[in-house]
C-alpha cells in the first residue's frame, strides 16, 4: 500500500521497494552509523556480513539461513511494527539474489538516488496518457470511460479556479473553458492559496505576543499576480529568494521576499530575552526556518534533519545544513520601507518639521490638561485609598499620591531608598512626609545622594527621635507625569526596613482610577475650553499634513540586518561552535557557486543555483505539486520530501517527461496545467471499479479520477458564489475574521462579523496563527505555523455540526432562498434553479416532488441548508 489519503487518516507512506533502502529506513536508526546496537551495521554489505553480537546478519543467496530475515519474518524486528508481505518479499529476494549493495556510507558522499539523477526522456512516449496507460495495462487495467460534459466543466472550474461554474458556463466547450479559466484572475487565487500553504504564510507572528503583520499581504498579492501572469517558475524562485537584491526599489519584487519570513517568529525569544545564549538560539531557529522552507518548498529536501547530526537517510551532512544557513545571515524578520533613496529622503524632509511642530502643540495641550488631570487624579486616588482602607495592602504606587502606614517606630534617622522608577529619567520626588499619629514632623533635614549603583537615597535626620507610623510621598502631583516617578522604594528607620513598595497592590490587580478627557474638559472654563479646541484643531491640521507625506511602501518582507558569522554547531548547540563556515549548496546535488563577496550576492547565487536547469530537483518538485493539485495525490506522494524517507514516484519516467517539458516550455505553469487537463486520464469518470480497486486501492495508477471534497476555502467561496454574494475584488489588505483582544491581550477572538465586507475570497482573509476557531478550521484549513504541502481531508462529527448549525451556513442558506425567490415564481422553478446553481444539473421529477413535499412544511431556507450540507455539493465529481 502506498500513499493514500483516506477519509479519516493519512497513512504512513510507502516503504522502499529496494531492500537496502528498506534496511536503512527501518533498521539503521538502531543498527546504523549513529547507534550500533548489538554492534550491527545494516547500512553496508560488510556490516551485514560481519553481523552483530549474535553472528552474521545475512548469508548471501540463502534468506532462510539469514538471521536478519528470520527476525524480520517472525516479527521480532523491527520493534516499531512488523514488516508487511511486500517488504518481506523484497528482503527475501534481495538476499536470495546475493544481497548486492552499493557501498553507501549513506551520509558521507553523493550516491545514486533517483531524485538526484538528471531527468531523462523516455523514447517512444510522447503523451501523459501513454505513460499512464502503459502502467495500467501491465496490471490488466485501463481508464474509466470519459466523463460527461457537465462533470468535466464542473471539475475544471473547481480545479482551476476553486469556484463553481454558473449555470450558463456549462454551455461552452471544454477547450474554451480551459482557455478562459487559465486567463481568469481566479486561477491565481486558487493556485496561489496552495503555494501559501507550502510556505506557511501567516499574518501574525505566532507565539506569546503574536503581533499582527498588517503589511504582509503584498507577498500574498505577489504570489497570486505572478501565477496569473504565468511568470516563469525560475523567476518565481529568484524573486522570492532574492527579489530585494535584484530589484531593491521595486516594492512588488521586494514583497516577494516575504517568502523568507512568512513563517512564525517568536519576538519574545528573539528580542526580549535577556539570556544571550537563548537569544542566539532563537536566531538559529530563525535561520532554520528559512533553510527548511527553502529546501522543502523548492527542492523537497528535508535539510533540517541535518541540524543536529548528519541526515540519517539522505546524503546531507550537518556541514551542508550550516553552510545553507549562511546564505540567510543578513535576513531578519520585520517591516521594511521600500522606495528610492530620493523618495525616502523626501519623506523624511517633509515629516521632520511637522513632527517638531506637533511636539510643540502637544506640549501646549499638556499645559492645559495636565494640571487639571493631576488634580482630578489626586482626588480619585485619595478616595480609592480610603475605599480600600480595610485592605491590608496599599493602592498601587502612582505619581500623585502614596500613603504607607506601618507599626509605629521611634527612630532618629530615616532613609527613603528609591530603587526603581519609570522611564530613563532620574527619579522625581515632589514631597515626602513622615507622620506620627497623624501629626506632621516638619523639623527635619534631608540629603539626597545617588550611590554607586544609582539608587536614590533620601536621608532624613530628625532633631530628636520620634515615633513615626506613616509615610506619604508623591513624584509629580502637579502634572501627574509618570516619567521619572517612583515605582520601587523602601523606608528604613535607623537601618531597619519598615515599609516598601511590596506593601502596595500591583497595578494589574485592581482597577486603578484614571481620568478621561471629558472629565478634564468639564473642569475647564468656557474660555480655556475654546482655547483647547483651537489646539486640538491645530493637532488635526498637522496630522492631516503628516498623512500626506510622500509615501514609501512598508512591507513585511526580508528585513536587512548586519550579517553575522556562520558556524557549524555540534549537535545544534549554540554553545558548541566548532568551525566558521561560508555559504554552500547541497554537496549531493552538486553545482557551482561563484565565490562572491557580499551576503546579498551569495543569496542571489543560491537562488540561481536552485533555478538552474541542471538542478535535478527543482522542475520535478513543482511539476509534482501541480499534478497533486489536479489528481489529489502527486506522482511522488510526499510533495516536500523527495528523499529516502519519502515516497517513490509512481511514474518516474512521466515525472521526468513533464519536468523536461516544463523547462523546455519556459517553466510555464499554465503550460503544465493545460497538458494535464487535456489528458484522457483527467477526463475520465470518478466511478468506483471493484476490480481496479482490488489491484490498486490507492489509485496510484489513475484508473479513475478521484472525487475530491472541497477544501475549506473552496467551500466558503462556493457558498458565497451560489448565493450571488461573492465579491471578486482582488488584492489589497486582508479582511479580518479574527481580531486581537484589547487591554494587552494576545488572543485573537473570532469576530463572527459576517457581511459584505468579508464576502471576498477566502485567500484574502487575514491569516492568524493560533486564533480562536472559525468555521474553516473544521475543514482542515491549516494553521500556518507549519508548512502544509498537502491538506488532510478529515471527516468528523464536529465538522457535520459546523455545516448544519454554523451561523454562516444558516445565513447563506437564507440568502440563497432569497435569490431563488426573486428569480423564479413557482416552487418547481425554484427547486430547479437551486439544483442548477449548486449541482449544475436539472433536478429529476422525483427530486422536485421530494423538495415540494419538504417545502409544504418547511421553509425554502431550510431546503437550501440541506442542499449546502449534501455530499453532492461538497464533493467535486
Amino acid at each position: 500500500m502506498r500513499w493514500i489519503l483516506s477519509s479519516f487518516f493519512v497513512l504512513l507512506p510507502a516503504l522502499a521497494a529496494d531492500a537496502p533502502a528498506l534496511l536503512t529506513q527501518k533498521c539503521a536508526k538502531c543498527h546504523g552509523a549513529g547507534a550500533l546496537l548489538s554492534d550491527l551495521d545494516v547500512t553496508t554489505r560488510a556490516g551485514l556480513l560481519k553481523g552483530g553480537k549474535h553472528g552474521p546478519a545475512i548469508v548471501p543467496g540463502d534468506s532462510a539461513k539469514s538471521r536478519l530475515y528470520q527476525l524480520v519474518s517472525e516479527g521480532k524486528m523491527p520493534p516499531g511494527g512488523r514488516l508487511d508481505a511486500a517488504e518481506l518479499a523484497a528482503i527475501r529476494s534481495w538476499i536470495d539474489a546475493g544481497a548486492t549493495m552499493a557501498d553507501s556510507s549513506a551520509s558521507k558522499a553523493k550516491r545514486s538516488w533517483w531524485a538526484f539523477e538528471t531527468p531523462r526522456k523516455t523514447p517512444g512516449f510522447e503523451t501523459i496518457d501513454a505513460f499512464l496507460l502503459a502502467k495500467l495495462k501491465e496490471k490488466g487495467l485501463t481508464y474509466n470511460p470519459k466523463a460527461d460534459h457537465r462533470t468535466l466543466i464542473r471539475r475544471l472550474y473547481f480545479d482551476l479556479t476553486g469556484l463553481p461554474p454558473n449555470p450558463e458556463d456549462y454551455n461552452q466547450s471544454y477547450e474554451a473553458a480551459v482557455d478562459k479559466l487559465l486567463a481568469s484572475p481566479q486561477y491565481g487565487e486558487r493556485w496561489g492559496r496552495h503555494w501559501l500553504d507550502v510556505v506557511r504564510f501567516g499574518e501574525t507572528d505566532g507565539g506569546e505576543h503574536n503581533f499582527e503583520r498588517f503589511n504582509a499581504w503584498p507577498y500574498r498579492d505577489w504570489v497570486i499576480q505572478s501565477i496569473n501572469a504565468d511568470k516563469p517558475y525560475t523567476d518565481f524562485i529568484r524573486e522570492q529568494l532574492a527579489g530585494d537584491i535584484l530589484f531593491p526599489q521595486d516594492p512588488k519584487k521586494v514583497a516577494a521576499t516575504g517568502f523568507l519570513v512568512a513563517g512564525p517568529w517568536d519576538s519574545v525569544s528573539a528580542v526580549l530575552n535577556k539570556d544571550e545564549a537563548l537569544r542566539e538560539q532563537a536566531r538559529y531557529d530563525e535561520l532554520d526556518d528559512m533553510v527548511t522552507t527553502t529546501a522543502h518548498s523548492f527542492l523537497a529536501m528535508t535539510v533540517n534533519c541535518a541540524r543536529c547530526h548528519d541526515h540519517k537517510f539522505d546524503p546531507i551532512p550537518t556541514r551542508d545544513y550550516y553552510r545553507m544557513t549562511a546564505f540567510f545571515n543578513a535576513v531578519g524578520f520585520g517591516e521594511r520601507e521600500v522606495g528610492t533613496d530620493e523618495a525616502r529622503a523626501a519623506r523624511e524632509a517633509y515629516l521632520k518639521p511637522l513632527r517638531k511642530q506637533m511636539d510643540g502643540i502637544k506640549a501646549r495641550l499638556g499645559d492645559i490638561d495636565d494640571p487639571v488631570r493631576a488634580r482630578l487624579l489626586l482626588a480619585k486616588m485619595k478616595a480609592f485609598d480610603q475605599q480600600r482602607a480595610a485592605e491590608p495592602r496599599r493602592i498601587p504606587v502612582n505619581p500623585v499620591f502614596n500613603r504607607n502606614a506601618f507599626q509605629a517606630i521611634t527612630a532618629k534617622q530615616f532613609r527613603f531608598v528609591v530603587t526603581g522608577n519609570n522611564g530613563k529619567a532620574a527619579p522625581k520626588l515632589a514631597y515626602v512626609e513622615l507622620l506620627p499619629a497623624g501629626k506632621r514632623i516638619d523639623n527635619w533635614t534631608g540629603t539626597a545622594a545617588a550611590s554607586a549603583d544609582q539608587r536614590q537615597v533620601l536621608t532624613i535626620d530628625l532633631d530628636t527621635p520620634a515615633a513615626v507610623s506613616e509615610i506619604r510621598f508623591a513624584s509629580d502631583p502637579v502634572r501627574g507625569s509618570a516619567t521619572g516617578s517612583v515605582t520601587v522604594y523602601r523606608l528604613e528607620a535607623d537601618g531597619k526596613e519598615v515599609a516598601s513598595s511590596m506593601d502596595h497592590v500591583n497595578r494589574n490587580e485592581v482597577d486603578v482610577p484614571s481620568v478621561a478627557d471629558e472629565e478634564v474638559v468639564a473642569q475647564l472654563s468656557a474660555d480655556i475650553r475654546s482655547k483647547r479646541d483651537a489646539v486640538l484643531a491645530e493637532i488635526r491640521a498637522v496630522q492631516q499634513q503628516m498623512n500626506q507625506a510622500p509615501s514609501v511602501s512598508v512591507l513585511y518582507a526580508a528585513k536587512p540586518r548586519d550579517p553575522e558569522k556562520s558556524y557549524l554547531l555540534e549537535r545544534g548547540n549554540v554553545r558548541r561552535k566548532t568551525e566558521e563556515l561560508t555559504p554552500g549548496i547541497l554537496s549531493a546535488v552538486g553545482g557551482d557557486l561563484p565565490a562572491t563577496a557580499t551576503s546579498a550576492e551569495r543569496r542571489l547565487a543560491l537562488a540561481n543555483w536552485i533555478a538552474d536547469k541542471r538542478n535535478p530537483l527543482t522542475a520535478r518538485v513543482m511539476v509534482n505539486r501541480i499534478w497533486q493539485g489536479h489528481f489529489g495525490t502527486g506522482i511522488v506522494g510526499t510533495p516536500s520530501d523527495f528523499g529516502i524517507n519519502g515516497d517513490r514516484p509512481s511514474h518516474p519516467e512521466l515525472l521526468d517527461h513533464l519536468a523536461i517539458g516544463f523547462m523546455e516550455n519556459g517553466w510555464s505553469m499554465k503550460w503544465l496545467h493545460r497538458q494535464i487537463v487535456m489528458t484522457d486520464a483527467y477526463r475520465q469518470t470518478s466511478a468506483m471499479n471493484a476490480k481496479a480497486h482490488a489491484v490498486d486501492a490507492g489509485n496510484r495508477l489513475l484508473w479513475h479520477m478521484p472525487m475530491k471534497r472541497m477544501d475549506a476555502e473552496m467551500l466558503r467561496d462556493s457558498m458565497l458564489a451560489v448565493t450571488g454574494n461573492l465579491s471578486l475584488q482582488g488584492g489589497g489588505p486582508s479582511y479580518l475574521l479574527q481580531k486581537k483582544g484589547g487591554g494587552g491581550s494576545y488572543i485573537y477572538a473570532a469576530l463572527n462579523n459576517d457581511g459584505p465586507e468579508v464576502w471576498r475570497r477566502a485567500v484574502y482573509r487575514f491569516v492568524v496563527r493560533g486564533g480562536e476557531r472559525i468555521m474553516m478550521d473544521s475543514f482542515d484549513c491549516p494553521d500556518p505555523s507549519v508548512a502544509t504541502p498537502q491538506r488532510a481531508v478529515s471527516n468528523t462529527p464536529v465538522q457535520a455540526l459546523t455545516m448544519m448549525n454554523h451561523e454562516f451556513v444558516i445565513k447563506q442558506a437564507g440568502l440563497l432562498a432569497k435569490r431563488l425567490e426573486s428569480g423564479a415564481a413557482t416552487g418547481d422553478a425554484r427547486v430547479q434553479r437551486a439544483y442548477a446553481l449548486l449541482f449544475g444539473r436539472e433536478a429529476t421529477a422525483s427530486e422536485v416532488a421530494r423538495a415540494n413535499r419538504f417545502l409544504s412544511k418547511q421553509s425554502l431556507t431550510a431546503l437550501c441548508r440541506a442542499l449546502f450540507n449534501s455530499n453532492e455539493f461538497l464533493y467535486v465529481p
Binding site: G80, P264, N273, S745, R769, S785, T788, N795, A800, N869
Partner: protein, 466 residues
C-alpha cells in the same frame, strides 16, 4: 506485536444502519485504515486528565521545600549559581512567604498556600527537578502542551486520540476546558492537531447547555425543522451514494452526521451536573464564586472521563496581558499566587479525591504541570516577584501504575537547578507509557520524518512506576 484496540465493537450495527452492500464494504475498509494505532503493552490508564498552569507556578513556594532560602534571605547568588533572569533584573535570595509542613503518612512537604492539596499527598507522585527548554512563555507552553518549543505541532491530547481512538464515539476523544478567565497564552495552538488529521483536534467544552460550538442551531430554527432538514439530508446523501457506489468518503460523511446527532444528545448530558449530590458540588467548591468556574471544570473532567473521553486538558490560568490572570508572578508573588491558589487548590484536591473514591484512579492518569518554575531570587532588588526558572520546577502525577506518595528528583539547595533533570520529553514518554503506548513507536509521517510527541528524546521515568 500486540495491537490491542480499546474500542468497543459497535461497528456492526452501524454498518447495517447505512445499508450494507458495497457501501458497507467500503466502510469496513475505511475503518480498517482509520483504526487507532492501538496500545503496545497493557495500559495502566485509559484516560488522561492534564491540568496545565500557564505562567509558571513557583515550585519553591508550593511543593519543593527549601529551608536554605530562609537562611540566605537577602543574599546575592554567586559563582555557578549566579542566576540569569529572563528580564535580566538582578535580585537577592527571597525566602518563601509561605510555611511548609509535612503531610500524610508519606510526610511530603507542601506549603500552606495549598491546604487542600496537602491532604492528598499520599496519592501524589511528585517530580522535582523538571526542566524546560526555554525561559520564554511561548516556547515553554508549547513544550508543555505539544512537546516542541515551536508552534504547530500536535498536542499531547491529539497524540493520545490518534494512538488510542475515541473511548466514546458520541463524544470528541480530546476535550479542552480553558480557564473561565480566558484562553491560555498562545490560545488554540495548545490543543491543535498539528499535522495529525482534524479528528484529533481538541474540542472546547463551554457552557452547560451548548457545550460544543455549533452543537445546536440558533434558536430561530425549531426542533421540527432541524429534524426534517436532517432527514432530507440523509435521503439526499443516500441517493447520491447509490449513484456513486463504493466511495468510502461519502459513507464516512453520512456516518459523521449520525455521530453528530448523537453528540447533540450526549454532550449536554455530560455537562449537566444536576444529578450530582450537593456534597459533591460543595467539595469541588461550586458554592463559592471564587472556586466555582474552575471547580465546575474539574467536576466536568471527571464526568467526561467517566463517559469515556480519552483526554481532558484543563487550564488553570488565562493568557498574558493586564491584569494578570495566570501564575506569572513577576511583580508580587504573594498577591499573585495567593489569588491563583484559591482558585486551584480546592477543586483539584476534590477531583483527586472524587476519582479515587469512585475507583476511577485505576484507569485514569492525572498529570499536573506548568511552563517552568520560578527563581529563588527576587525580581529586582527589594521587589517581591520571582522571574522564570526553566532550570528546575515541579510537576506531579496521580494514578494507576505509579508509586503513590513519593517524590522523585530534586533541585539544588536553593531550588534553582535540577540535580537530576527530568525533561518534558521524559514526562510525556512516561504518561504515554502508562497509557500503554511506547513513545518511540507512536509516529506520524510529516515532511520527511516519522514524527513523535517526544521528538528524538525522552525516557520513561522507571523509578516512579509501581
Amino acid at each position: 506485536m500486540c495491537r490491542k484496540t480499546l474500542r468497543k465493537p459497535t461497528r456492526r450495527e452501524l454498518l447495517w444502519e447505512i445499508g450494507g452492500g458495497l457501501a458497507g464494504l467500503a466502510l469496513a475498509q475505511m475503518e480498517a485504515k482509520a483504526a487507532p494505532k492501538g496500545t503496545h503493552h497493557t495500559p495502566k490508564a485509559e484516560h488522561l486528565i492534564m491540568i496545565s498552569l500557564p505562567g509558571g507556578i513557583s515550585h519553591i513556594d508550593t511543593f519543593d521545600y527549601k529551608p536554605e532560602l530562609a537562611r540566605n534571605h537577602g543574599k546575592e547568588t554567586q559563582g555557578a549559581n549566579t542566576i540569569k533572569p529572563f528580564f535580566g533584573k538582578r535580585g537577592t535570595v527571597m525566602k518563601s512567604p509561605w510555611e511548609f509542613k509535612q503531610y500524610g503518612q508519606s510526610g511530603q512537604w507542601v506549603s500552606d498556600m495549598l491546604p487542600h492539596l496537602a491532604k492528598r499527598v499520599d496519592d501524589i507522585t511528585f517530580l522535582h527537578g523538571m526542566v524546560s527548554r526555554s525561559n520564554a512563555h511561548g516556547p515553554a507552553i508549547f513544550q508543555m502542551s505539544t512537546g516542541f518549543i515551536f508552534q504547530g505541532f500536535p498536542s499531547v491530547g491529539s497524540w493520545i486520540s490518534y494512538g488510542l481512538g475515541p473511548g466514546n464515539e458520541n463524544l470528541p476523544s480530546f476535550v479542552v476546558l480553558p480557564d473561565a478567565r480566558g484562553l491560555p497564552p498562545c490560545g488554540v495552538a495548545n490543543w491543535g492537531n498539528g499535522f495529525l488529521p482534524a479528528a484529533h483536534q481538541g474540542v472546547i467544552f463551554g457552557e452547560e447547555k451548548t457545550p460544543i460550538a455549533d452543537l445546536r442551531p440558533p434558536a430561530s430554527i425549531s426542533e421540527a425543522e432541524q429534524a426534517a432538514t436532517y432527514d432530507l439530508l440523509t435521503e439526499l446523501n443516500e441517493e447520491h451514494l447509490k449513484q456513486n457506489p463504493g466511495e468510502d468518503a461519502l459513507v464516512a460523511r453520512i456516518k459523521a452526521y449520525q455521530l453528530a446527532a448523537r453528540m447533540q444528545v450526549t454532550a449536554p448530558e455530560v455537562t449537566s451536573i444536576a444529578g450530582e449530590t450537593e456534597a459533591t458540588k460543595a467539595s469541588y467548591g461550586l458554592n463559592d464564586p471564587v472556586t466555582r468556574p474552575f471547580g465546575y471544570n474539574c467536576l466536568l473532567a471527571r464526568r467526561l472521563v467517566e463517559k469515556g473521553v480519552r483526554c481532558v486538558q484543563l487550564f488553570n490560568g488565562g493568557h498574558f496581558g493586564a491584569p494578570r490572570v495566570n501564575w506569572d508572578a513577576h511583580e508580587d508573588l504573594v498577591a499573585n499566587h495567593s489569588k491563583n491558589a484559591r482558585v486551584l487548590d480546592q477543586p483539584v484536591a476534590a477531583l483527586l479525591a472524587d476519582l479515587k473514591q469512585r475507583g476511577l484512579l485505576s484507569k485514569t492518569l492525572v498529570v499536573f504541570t506548568t511552563e517552568f518554575g520560578r527563581l529563588p531570587i527576587s525580581e529586582g532588588l527589594g521587589e517581591g516577584g520571582r522571574d522564570h526558572n526553566p532550570e528546575g520546577y515541579t510537576s506531579f502525577m496521580v494514578g494507576a501504575g505509579l508509586k503513590p506518595g513519593i517524590a522523585f528528583g530534586s533541585t539544588d539547595e536553593l531550588g534553582y537547578k535540577a540535580e537530576r533533570p527530568i525533561t518534558v520529553y521524559d514526562l510525556h514518554a512516561t504518561l504515554l507509557h502508562l497509557m500503554g503506548i511506547d513513545h518511540t513507536r507512536l509516529t506520524f509521517y510529516h515532511n520527511g520524518l516519522n514524527r513523535r510527541l517526544t521528538d528524538v528524546h525522552g525516557h520513561v521515568i522507571r523509578e516512579i512506576l509501581a
